[in-house]
Amino acid sequence: MTGIAEKAAALNNDEILRYSRHLIMPEVGMEGQLKLKQAKVLCIGAGGLGSPLALYLAAAGVGTLGIVDFDVVDFTNLQRQVIHGTSDVGRKKLDSAADTLGEINPNVEVRKFDTRLSSANALELFREFDIIADGTDNFPTRYLVNDACVLTGKPNVYGSIFRFEGQASVFATKEGPCYRCLYPEPPPPGLVPSCAEGGVLGILPGLVGIIQATETIKLILGSGEPLIGRLLLVDALAMRFRELKLRKNPDCPVCGVNPTVTELIDYNQFCGIRGEEAAAPSTIKDMTVEELKQRLDKGDDLFVLDVREPHEYQICNIGGHLIPLNDLPKRVSELDSSREIVVHCKMGGRSAKAVDFLKQSGFTRVHNLAGGITAWAERIDPKVPKY
């Protein structure tokens, strides 16, 4: 960020009025506001974290905001992705976000990157910006963002959420640790539930995204104590903030003394093939929702097992016997192995695990309902709500 103030243009009278509450405080002042105007921040994702992050950075007067996203707004996003509105459903998140940001502050140059961040484009993209704000939702992209930040020397303003807990930090500064110093390897797929599976309290990305925005602005201004070498843990239910010490790991594969990762790798492979849970059970025979409907109508003796959680069952159900996936091992005696069993969940992921478990437990006539109750709602019974 050195040299930003030197090459800064002046603010016009409209901007002086707009930023007056910044200009009259010594911690920002004209010098700080010009730094903000000259700053270029890249937001990875315009979703839960990216929404508040981009909104506040734009309002604060960050001159150039890049956004990388390839997704489209859907109804389930609106509970927390406050940069998008109901009329934006079906639009590209990039277009929706750019419109909102333009309305909040037309002085901001929004640069839209309609692409999936990848090892092929990350380095080139990151070099055009000063700071990278990571609002991604998956491990491959997290490791990609981290490594690309280390390799290009750009600070990585990190935030991550699950249900009602969040983490935030600033990684990959010269003196501080990177994400791999904290977590050298990702969990194998399936061991940690995703937000789509586990849910997330809508205000939590708001809290964590605004912490990221705050850290980004402090880095630009060069003031305060950034979250370098500190991991902030947020528990929204208890409303407790805790802080853990992070250290730069001298053996870190990417930012350590003798790095082994010196260029970007295949992050899907890095996150996908390790761990015993990685291999998807392949012997499961799927049943389509059409087949299930046809066989139920015919009066076949099928036992429908629902392995979702009770609160999901309350949203909608197709009359299945409810045993949540995690309770299955201790409640397996409720099932009759001589009957033909069809297992379903929301989308088909948890039921596949349940089928795998039942087969290992000696059940032979077990099917996984492909696409879960969501497919049933889409293709068989529109009265069943999707969630």
Binding site: T136, D137, I161, R163, E165, N326
Partner: protein, 91 residues
């Protein structure tokens, strides 16, 4: 001592946010936890018996990797935090 169990792992630990373990070391505390909740074991430890690379354990605010790992001695008033990596955000 008190062990704080993070949200993603609570489903394997009786759905409780905290666990009270009488222990003299970090290793004893974690053993007491996984003895009570055996399902938790495979989420904390790999087949090699080591803590998994995406799970960190902090004694108060210090990473046990930079203390004496499992052998780190603890007091009754200490707090042990299990901090796994989480990936949510964009969705």
């Amino acid at each position: 001592m008190k062990i704080l169990v993070p949200t993603p792992l609570r489903q394997y630990a009786g759905r409780q946010p905290a666990f009270e373990a009488p222990a003299a070391t970090v290793g004893e505390a974690l053993s007491a936890l996984t003895a009570t909740y055996p399902d938790l074991r495979k989420h904390l430890y790999g087949e090699d018996g080591k803590l998994r690379a995406f799970v960190n354990v902090y004694l108060n605010d210090d990473d046990i990797r930079y203390l004496q790992n499992d052998a780190t001695t603890v007091k009754d008033t200490d707090i042990l935090s299990i901090v796994p990596s989480i990936a949510g955000g964009r969705l």
